[in-house]
Each structure stands twice: as structure tokens, then as C-alpha cells.
Symmetry: C2
Subunit: 315 residues, 2 copies
């Protein structure tokens, strides 16, 4: 086998890539050079997972990479009809983000329950003002998205004594189907969006769904920004249809400084950081190197994305 060409779409350096020296010809691309270099690559590593360049640059026909790996859980940023219909295998970073994101959701849920944003604001004003807060044990959560991230979130919330229902694309043991969603939303204290972005999930959290939630309900999005109709969420919070929300992902990232979302009442905005714990880039790099070993040995790859569905199918 000739030395394969590994094309890396990167914005920041990838740790430990040097281990492939002699085993792959490593080339780098950015958004301006990707289209030109893509046809000559055997493997594309989408290290800069914030880029949407792959969709634009993917060759309609002719030579193209046989394998694309993205260092992200979602694949919505690179998927296009030509890639979906090609024989190219797509893999993702399934597994790396599960526990960190679950902890991040627990942090947001507890911060909202204990009214921590108000405490920090009052501290800034040097004001001691006792308030009663919410006990989370015994409350109810509905987690939308039954992949490894959604399941890790459900495990963590259950460990805090929260009765938690998981909703996925298809009903199975321990997972509700979409037909149960509205009923579960209507009685949830916490609604967590952790689904992949697909044609089915885009805009699923809209005025109708916020309107059916309890006035005391709080909403968290750690999936993808466009799962939520952001204007509808802003209205739901302003009119107090629901009590609070936290968005770690936004439709347009980074969120523009002049966006009205920054100042919506009872909304916490964080910069798409829920999965990114110290050492995460090392973990992503190690995961790619492991997959590369399988690929080079002609073995089946783990984490293969169902390109039509837009995620790795499984339990």
C-alpha cells in the first residue's frame, strides 16, 4: 500500500499528529485551499469542526477521500447530498464528550435551581439577600436525544434524584419515541435538548413547544443551535411562558455582540464549551489515531455515521 495522504482541515494544531510520520503524507488545508486539495486526499480529518468548508468544497464526482473523520459529535456542519450519496465513510468523535456534557447540564440545572446567577449579581452589588431555592431531587426532566450524550445526561440527572425520561427517534427499552414528546414536555421541570441536528430536529423547540411547557420549566440546549427557534425562546422567556433557559449552542456562533439574545431575561448563554474539558483536544487526537490504526489495517471503523440520518446509530 502506498503512503496515504491525510489532509487536515485545521485552525489549531492537532496534538500527537507526529506519530503518523512515515505512515501518512500529512497535508494541511484551510477554507481557501480545501477544494483544491480534497481530490488528492485519501483521508480528510476535519479538526476545525467549526468550519462549514467541507460542504462547499466536496467534489461532485472524480477522486475524493475514502474516509472523513470529524473531531465533533455532530456532523451537520459537513454533511451535503454529494457526501451522503458517496461511498466515503464518515466517522465522528462519539464518546469523548458524553461525561463532560452531562456534567455541564447538571451544572446548569443546579445553578438555575439554586438561583446562582442572582447570587453572583447581588455579590457584585455587595448585597446580602436571602432567597429560597429549588430542591432538584424529586423534580422531572425530559432529555431529547438518546445517543451517548443524551444517555450520559440522563444518568447524571438521575444520580441527582431527578426523574428523567429520554426521548429518541424511535421508542425502545428506556427510550420514549417522538409520540411521547409533547406529553413529557408538558410535565417536565427540566427540558434538555441533546439531539443531533437533522431535518427532523431542526426548529423542534418553537413557540408551540415552549407554550406547552410549565411556567416553572427550564430549558437547556447543548445539542445544536438550530434545534431551537431562538426568537420563540426569547419570547417565551420575556413573556414568562417558562422560568429560565440556558443555551450553550447558538444558531450563529460566535453569537454577535449586538444580538438581543445576550440580554433576554433568565437566559444563560455560554460559548459552546459544554464538552470541552481540559485535555479534550488530546482525547480527540488520540481517538483519531486509534481510528487511523484500524483504517490503515483495513479493519472496520468504529463510530461510523449513518450519513442519511446524520448520526451514529446504536442503542
Amino acid at each position: 500500500m502506498t503512503t496515504p495522504t491525510l489532509l487536515v482541515l485545521d485552525a489549531e494544531p492537532l496534538p500527537r499528529l507526529g506519530r503518523l510520520t512515515g505512515r501518512a503524507r500529512i497535508e494541511h488545508a484551510d477554507e481557501t485551499t480545501l477544494a483544491e486539495r480534497l481530490p488528492h486526499a485519501d483521508v480528510l480529518l476535519v479538526w476545525d469542526f467549526t468550519s462549514h468548508a467541507v460542504r462547499q468544497a466536496w467534489p461532485g464526482d472524480g477522486p475524493r477521500p475514502r474516509w472523513v473523520h470529524t473531531a465533533s459529535a455532530g456532523v451537520d456542519h459537513l454533511m451535503c447530498p454529494e457526501l451522503a450519496e458517496s461511498e466515503t465513510v464518515v466517522t465522528n468523535a462519539r464518546g469523548v464528550f458524553d461525561q463532560p456534557i452531562a456534567e455541564y447540564v447538571a451544572a446548569l440545572v443546579l445553578a438555575m435551581a439554586k438561583d446562582l446567577p442572582t447570587t453572583l449579581r447581588l455579590q457584585g452589588e455587595r448585597t446580602w439577600r436571602h432567597r429560597e431555592s429549588l430542591r432538584v431531587a424529586g423534580t422531572r426532566a425530559c432529555v431529547v436525544g438518546s445517543g451517548p450524550i443524551g444517555r450520559a445526561i440522563a444518568r447524571t440527572l438521575k444520580a441527582l434524584g431527578i426523574t428523567t425520561a429520554l426521548v429518541g427517534r424511535t421508542a425502545r427499552t428506556g427510550v420514549h419515541g417522538p409520540g411521547d414528546l409533547d406529553r413529557l414536555l408538558a410535565r417536565a421541570d427540566w427540558v434538555v435538548a441533546a439531539a443531533p441536528l437533522t431535518d427532523d430536529t431542526r426548529g423542534m423547540f418553537d413557540a408551540r413547544r415552549f407554550g406547552m411547557m410549565q411556567p416553572s420549566a427550564r430549558f437547556v440546549n447543548v445539542g445544536r443551535g438550530p434545534l431551537v427557534v431562538e426568537d420563540d425562546l426569547a419570547e417565551a422567556l420575556t413573556r414568562r411562558w417558562i422560568a429560565g433557559a440556558a443555551l450553550d449552542v447558538l444558531s450563529h456562533e460566535p453569537l454577535a455582540a449586538d444580538s438581543p439574545l445576550w440580554r433576554v431575561p433568565n437566559l444563560i448563554i455560554s460559548p459552546h464549551m459544554s464538552g470541552d474539558t481540559i485535555g479534550w483536544r488530546d482525547e480527540l487526537g488520540a481517538q483519531f489515531l486509534e481510528l487511523f490504526e484500524s483504517w490503515a489495517a483495513g479493519e472496520p471503523l468504529a463510530n461510523v455515521v449513518d450519513k442519511k440520518r446524520g448520526y451514529v446509530p446504536g442503542h
Copy 2:
């Protein structure tokens, strides 16, 4: 049995006290009238647990209440030598605060791990700045105080995957003795103070102990303010001996607006609210009524405080 006199030291109304109508003669006192009314009372209910009036007003000899109940976990605010040496039984609100305080500690630990105070500050500045945060699973906690509150904290932190050691006054199964404290502090990522305030624990978190913690360690106090030498903590944070801290209890409450503590870097200050979830006053009221039934029937009381030690002994 003649109708007993129940004297209530209150600042706010006690829910459901009306249930005792006809079974007790209910009188009320505030800090100015307590000394005068105390000798005529059979039972004293310290509903205003922020008051230190009992210590001053307790009769040296002569008639005094046979039973004192405080609607708090700590008894440091009412204990004095005369009360400790008397035959008066003292009970506390053991049990009501365990789960709420454990959740509050989890909220603080996760908020510090996920750098939520910075996120909220940046949101106020309309600034999107991605940062890496800390994974709590696999970190180590040391919880000082092995009563029901400390044990609930340990259970909750363990449920988040944190390796947690409990330190109590005496070593027993699952609890380290004081001789292990410094060794455990030196390797902890999270140090949680949840001990009662006694002669042994006053000022136990001082410059020496902050100095032996890891530079990455974070400290949380949900016990009593004077467990901590606050000036030493301020120095430890300012000089970055430790990475962060959260105080829900302070030596002087409410904390004065001109206290320098409000602005110590990486310090979260909250107004003694960790145990006070919605409905807590109802729970405290119901707990007292249940104890009153036992007392009126001449049965042994639950939650009896060892007045010399200053807490309810037991597992």
C-alpha cells in the same frame, strides 16, 4: 397534665402552629422580652434561629423550659454553659437540610468546575469567549463533618463520580478521624466544610490549612462562618494558594456591604441559603409538631443534641 406553655422566639410566622390550639398555651417573644418570659415557659421553640438571644436570656437557676427546640441544624447560636449543664433537653432540625445542602454544594462545585461565574460575567459584556473547563468525575473531595449533612454531601459528590473522603470527630467505618485530615486536604480538589461549630472546629480552616491545599483546590463552607479564618482565606485566594472558594456562611451575617470579602478574587458569596429550599419552613414546622407529639406523650425525643459536644451524636 396542665396545658404547657410554649414560648416561641420568632421573627417570622411559623406555619401550622395553630394545630396546637388547646394543647399548648402559645406565647411569643422577641429578643427584648425573652429573658422575662423564659422562666414561665415549659417549651422554648427557637424559630428565629439567627438570634443569639437565648444565650443571654437563659436563666442561671430557678424555673426554666424543660425542652428547647431550634429550627436549625447548628446549635452554636443558643448554647451556653448554663444550658449545657441544665437538665433541659435540646433538639434540633436534623434531617431537614441534608439533601438541599448536598445539592447546593454540588451546584457550587460544578459551577466552579465549569467556570460559570466567568461565563455570566462575559455574557454581561456580550462577549463570546470559549474556555476549557474541568471534568469533575475522577477528581477528589474531602468533606469535613460526618453528620447527616456531611454524609448527604458525600453521597451526592460520589454520584457525580468524585472520589470523596469524609472526616469526622472520630474515625469509624467510612469516616476518617481528625488525624487523617491534613493528608486528605493536601490531595483534595474540593474541600467542603460541613462541620458543627464547636471549640474543636472554630477557626480550623486557617492559613496553615489553606497553605497545604493544592493550588488547583477549591474550598466550600456550608457549615458555620467561624469554621474559617476569613482573612486567611482572602489571603489564600489573593495569593492563589488555592484556585477558588465559596462561602454560604460567614462569621458575621448578614455580611456588611463594606466588607472586603465581597470582592476577593475567585470567591463566591451567598447569603446562608444552602438548605433553604421552597417549603423549608413548612418542613421545619411539621418537624417541630411531630416532636411536640412525642414530648406531650412523654415519649423519648428524636434529634436530641449532646449539649457538651454541640450536635446530635450518632451515625
